[in-house]
């Protein structure tokens, strides 16, 4: 087991949060994990990203040049990272904000209208969860219940948010699975 995943979007879309959930998931599965945010001189309205590494051995470099997976929540993120994804990797794109196709044909692509689905689930803010659900579904990294459980724990202080986020996760997961 060795996976490098880059999660990217606009500041405020919640990419750091779903990155943390992914890292917690990796830890819960008994792996070593790192979560590394890009913390440079970030610009308001610019892209925000983090890298998660999940490995069954201690993690060396916590940064990734050629990730196995990419979750791109906006167009600049896809433009920036698309070319670097490994062959046979997985790219999840948010078609609500990305009006072009993925150019690569050697990777698995999952297109999710994350913003629209999130609104249908009851919160415009849950687009990140739709994308995370789709990524889990597309990669088979774990079963959905485990992710839901981790999310519930993370939202323990805001229980009113659990249901809508579970719904968003599930919709994304099912879309990727083709359910």
């Amino acid at each position: 087991m060795y996976k490098e995943i880059i999660l990217a979007g606009f500041g405020g879309q919640g990419v750091l949060l779903i990155g943390k959930l992914l890292a917690k998931l990796g830890l819960e599965m008994g792996n070593e994990v790192t979560w590394m945010p890009a913390y440079g001189p970030e610009m308001r309205g610019g892209t925000c990203n983090c890298t998660v590494v999940i490995s069954d051995k201690p993690v060396g470099s916590p940064m990734s040049k050629h990730p196995h997976g990419l979750i791109a929540l906006n167009l600049p993120s896809l433009d920036k990272f698309e070319d670097f994804v490994r062959k046979d990797g997985v790219i999840v794109i948010n078609t609500s904000l990305i009006n072009r196709k993925v150019k690569r044909n050697d990777v698995k692509v999952v297109e999710v209208p994350a913003n629209e689905i999130a609104i249908e689930c009851g919160s415009a803010k849950a687009g990140n969860m739709v994308a995370l659900g789709a990524f889990i579904g597309a990669t088979g990294l774990s079963d959905l219940e485990m992710v839901k459980e981790i999310l519930s724990k993370s939202l323990a202080s805001k229980p009113q948010l659990i249901e809508v986020n579970h719904k968003a996760l599930t919709r994304g997961y099912e879309l990727a699975k083709g359910v």
């Binding site: 979560w35 590394m36 913390y39 440079g40 040049k65």
Partner: protein, 351 residues
């Protein structure tokens, strides 16, 4: 206790609390603001005190006072802030006070940039402030090790009555990794500091001072400090050997962040039929030179890599001797090398 996912900065803060430290004095600066933020929230919960000083200069003098009163105390800052503290650190070294300094280094010189760098190796290991003194310097490579070394730093500071640095960079500070805190020290259980200035009821006053106007006294004091540094050199050298075997093609020498990047490069090199290993100093002062020397004998090539233009390499060269060729690969200004770059550099060296 189960492993918890924590940011390096927060793990450092929690480790200080678990080491029985209840006092923090500091001034904010990126990329380590999560440490003061964490301390400001956590210290009041455990009966401690968080003070945001008006500047780094005052913070380091507040530490002088708190340590002189016998309390475990620490600060955290980043390169320019640590420079401002140097006067205080020199006084703390002169007065033999146990204080822990966390430096989450950034690129320099001057105000520099906030991204990962190892620009302050010289400053930390060769003095930094004025006067003839040494600080113990610990360099973690993972968040877990950052937590462990912070706890060790407090013990070593007390043991030698000496300032101790924990030297990290933005990558160690900002990254999240699983952490487990192996021990919790209750401040009341710490051994009494009989030298501290705690109110001279029923005993002669203890004096905390670095001023010796009589040259004979000062010379005696300087030799006493030197003896202490020799004890540190004898007892406290720490390092990690990774993938060391007889007949290595390349030996990487790297600390902190770069060491973990080298580990990934070593795995990649193995798949290319190159045997590579890593010597990672954990204490930068005292530098584990003898251990490095004996490991280096097993390797055809030695490649030092740092996030600087070449600082630790001077200690490596000193210990390996002038006849041994030592190659260098550095990135600076907040740029961090990829494992691929180190692989290429090693292959180039072997050509």
């Amino acid at each position: 206790m189960a492993k918890k996912l924590m940011k390096g900065c927060e793990a450092i803060g929690e480790a200080a609390i678990k080491a029985g430290c209840r006092l923090f004095f500091g001034y904010p600066i990126t990329p380590q603001n999560e440490i003061p933020e964490y301390m400001s929230a956590r210290l009041p919960q455990v009966g401690g005190v968080y003070v945001q000083a008006e500047s780094e200069v005052s913070a380091s003098n507040m530490l002088y006072g708190a340590a002189g009163a016998g309390c475990r105390c620490f600060t955290s800052s980043s390169s320019p802030g640590i420079s401002l503290m140097q006067e205080g650190i020199s006084y703390i070294a002169g007065a033999e006070l146990p204080v822990v300094f966390i430096n989450i280094m950034r690129g320099g010189p001057g105000l520099g940039g906030i991204l990962p760098s190892q620009s302050d190796y010289f400053q930390a290991t060769k003095g930094g402030g004025h006067g003839d003194y040494r600080c113990l310097v610990l360099a973690p490579s993972t968040v877990q090790e950052a937590a462990d070394l912070v706890q060790l730093a407090f013990d070593l500071a007390d043991k030698y009555r000496n300032p101790v640095y924990v030297l990290g960079d933005g990558l160690i500070g900002q990254m999240m990794e699983p952490v487990e805190f192996k021990r919790t020290v209750n401040p009341e259980d710490l051994p009494e500091k009989t030298w501290a200035s705690t109110g001279a009821k029923g005993r002669k006053p203890n004096i905390i001072n670095s001023l010796y106007l009589d040259p004979e006294d000062l010379e005696k004091h300087n030799w006493k400090l030197k003896k202490k540094y020799e004890e540190m050199e004898k007892n406290e050298k720490r390092w990690e050997e990774f993938n060391i075997e007889e007949n290595l093609d390349v030996l990487f020498v790297a600390y902190g962040t770069v060491a973990r990047i080298a580990k990934t490069a070593i795995e990649d090199l193995r798949s290319k039929g190159v045997t590579a290993g890593l010597f990672r100093p954990i204490t930068l002062y005292p530098f584990p030179g003898e251990a490095l020397y004996s490991v280096a004998q097993k390797s055809k090539k030695v490649l030092v890599s740092e996030l600087s233009t070449g600082q630790m390499i001077e200690d490596v060269r000193y210990h390996l001797g002038k006849d041994r060729e030592v190659a260098f690969y550095g990135r600076v200004g907040g740029m961090v090398m990829t494992p691929e770059e180190l692989v290429d550099e090693a292959l180039k060296l072997l050509k």
